[in-house]
């Protein structure tokens, strides 16, 4: 066991636990301590080798361990760094670190279209929350943003590469959950993109989980496309006897009246799916009669939109120049594509 202190809050965790997991254990122990938990955009507990890429979860290790108390020279990715006995970590208590994370958020946003008004992810988007909690009021980026055309990767999934932050989660889903990955990351640097390269459909029983793990609106459910804003739907827990041995059929149904608009996996308080579900449950069972409803789903309404934070008065405009591709996207008759 190792004792670790994050922002002054101490916890004892098994050896090998990462700083991020230790912080989440603190948050689970006492909701009031949730401020010690670093944001994570690419790490996903159930996906092996995930994490380390987005750099939003960086923390400052102010004391390495009891044995070697020297601080670590650079911020470290808390999702990929194991705790040591006696380690002390600053998450929100170090101004330098807060500033560094602020920089990471700004970088993630410079090429993001900010097309939230027409994005299905709005309201449950981790990038919205991240930028609200850790970002600045305005971007200093004034150049044309990188754009990609949205493409269908099969009947059920739409890829908006423009919104992608290259977290690699969907690639890990393809690798670890499906029986053959057909998509990946092509090109390099800031033109790297999630792609199948050739026109290709991602057809697999578990491919729909890519939508659930996507932290932004890059991968969305075509069967739910523009059907409703998520905050106008009523989520209920439900299950069915799913024949697929790898799917337990425990889902969330997002209802409008008695109409099932969308089916997703059940997410924990950190936004991660508790157990992955199959595509039959997700896409084909849109009839309420197919499900046993357990009751209303408790949603942790910390999301920016859910709390109406966007009504806050701002000192300056969100952008120094408007994102060029919002009207552009509309122009491309996106909306016709329902």
């Amino acid at each position: 066991m190792a004792k670790v202190t994050i922002d002054g809050v101490m916890i004892e965790v098994p050896d090998g636990t990462t700083i991020l997991q230790a912080a989440r254990m603190i948050g689970e122990r006492n909701k009031a301590d949730r401020h010690v938990v670093p944001p994570a955009m690419c790490y996903y507990t159930s996906l092996k080798t995930s994490g380390g890429y987005c750099r939003t979860c960086i923390v400052k290790v102010t004391k390495g361990s009891d044995k070697d108390p020297r601080p670590m020279p650079k911020p470290v990715a808390s999702c990929r760094t194991a705790v040591m006995d006696g380690m002390e970590v600053a998450n929100t208590t170090d101004p330098g670190l807060v500033d560094a994370r602020n920089g990471v958020v700004e970088m993630l946003l410079i090429n993001h279209p900010l097309d939230c008004p027409i994005c299905d992810q709005a309201g449950e988007c981790h990038l919205q929350d991240l930028s609200y909690e850790n970002g600045k009021e305005a971007s200093r980026y004034e150049f044309e943003r990188r754009t990609f055309d949205p493409i269908d990767i099969g009947d059920t999934i739409k890829l908006h590469m423009t919104r992608c932050i290259l977290c690699y989660r969907c690639v890990k889903v393809g690798e670890q959950l499906t029986d053959g990955r057909v998509h990946g990351v092509i090109n390099r640097g800031d033109v790297a993109e999630i792609s199948t390269y050739i026109q290709n459909a991602i057809e697999n029983d578990f491919s729909g989980n890519m939508i659930d793990v996507c932290p932004v609106g890059a991968l969305t459910d075509r069967t739910f496309r523009f059907a409703s804003r998520v905050w106008f739907t009523k989520p209920v827990n439900a299950h069915r006897n799913c024949g697929n041995p790898r799917c337990n059929g425990h889902v969330v149904l997002w209802l409008k009246g008695n109409e099932v608009l969308r089916v997703t996996g059940r997410k924990d308080m950190w936004g991660e799916v508790e157990s992955f579900i199959c595509n039959t449950c997700r896409f084909d069972k849109k009839d309420l009669a197919a499900w046993t409803v357990e009751g209303p789903r408790q949603i942790d309404r910390h999301s920016v939109i859910n709390q109406g934070h966007y009504n806050l008065e701002r000192k300056q405009a969100l952008l120094t120049s408007p994102a060029p591709n919002v009207p552009e996207l509309a122009k491309r008759k996106e909306l016709k594509d329902r």
Binding site: G51, T56, P75, V104, I110, N111, V185, R188, G189, D190
Partner: protein
Amino acid sequence: MGRKLLFEHIDKPGIRGLEGYRANGGYRSVEKALKTLSPEAVLEEVKKSGLRGRGGAGFPTGMKWSFLAKPEGVPRYLVVNADESEPGTFKDRYLMERIPHILIEGMITSSFALGAKVSYIYIRGEYFYVARIMEQAIAEARAAGWLGKNILGSGFDHDIHVQVGAGAYICGEETALLESLEGKRGNPRIKPPFPAVKGLYDCPTVVNNVETIAAVVPIVNDGGEEYAKIGIGKSTGTKLISAGGNIKRPGVYEIDLGVTCDEFINSDEYCGGVDGRAFKAVVPGGSSVPIVPYELFLKTPAGENRLMTYESLSEGGFAQGTMMGSGGFYAYNDAQCIVRSTWNHTRFYHHESCGQCSPCREGTGWMEKVLHRLEHGEGRTEDIDLLWDIQRKIEGNTICPLGDAAAWPVASAIRHFRDEFEYHVTHREKVKDPKHFAREPFRKSAKFATA
């Protein structure tokens, strides 16, 4: 005139072939190591030599080797980093092209010390013709029994393979190199685990630069102590410096660590001074190290002569020093524009960013765009502070050192040449001519005159 350890015989006829190499004392270190020394004894000599990694980081080689994990029944690998891509650096190409057997000899001796039965040379794809030279030399060595089973009857087996890359600076980072060698995209791995524990094919691996491994040959031949007699302090032995830019005599020079910077840049034995104008700035260790004004290259902030050693070059810290890096040395004359050069540097890092982590992926392109705007007469005063802040947000926050390497040239250029950046804002029309300073050199204002 310093001692030549690697280049002693480089001009001898036939040195590129096995026969010529052998006639000049080649493969003696293999004989000595395999017949008279234990692997531990070879490691001990390397430790005693004080040899530091010649690829850029300058990490003590003996210490790196001693970190190598040795679990039972798991193969260990030596991988030679010949991905030489750091702008300004061409010493490894020169060495491999002219005297390929010294690398092979060093690899056999080093592999004996490390217990590696197979080693790889990862050569950047653009050096395809060098890879052919190495392959041919390996074939010669194999035919003569220097490679293969039971070398010199010692019971030690070893073989070497040449692997070519395909154009990616990032593959010079050791874990990206290993990924590439495994047939994947050159994305650096997240550390720990380090290659010494989990490297190539998840096995313990040492990755060393070409020059580092070649230096093992004289170290084993003459003994580590003898090697350590050359140099000053923790900078021991000789170092290959690739010299380019606006100097009279570009080329690769083997210097004793400890030569003064003045001698190196101005004497006819090395760079031979400036090519007809006046020196303005120096990048002594490859594009990633801080650029310094010429005067600050010659003298430390304390006013002493600066020396070509790891320590002396970095004296004054980041604010007033620079680094030895890979020894990719290039000098600027007063026709050159620092803003243009910084834009060029940044375009390079933008082009070479692997795209894995966000600060580097997004930040390098952003800096390039701002620098492009400044250099082309469309900049604003705020751009300079913006650049400063972007590089600060990249440095230290990325998976691998490419982020730092992209940030440092920008930071140092602004630190030392801020007035030149300001000039680009105040003289927008003038700088639209790409040769603006060739026609009329930039003069420092009193405010920025170097002390």
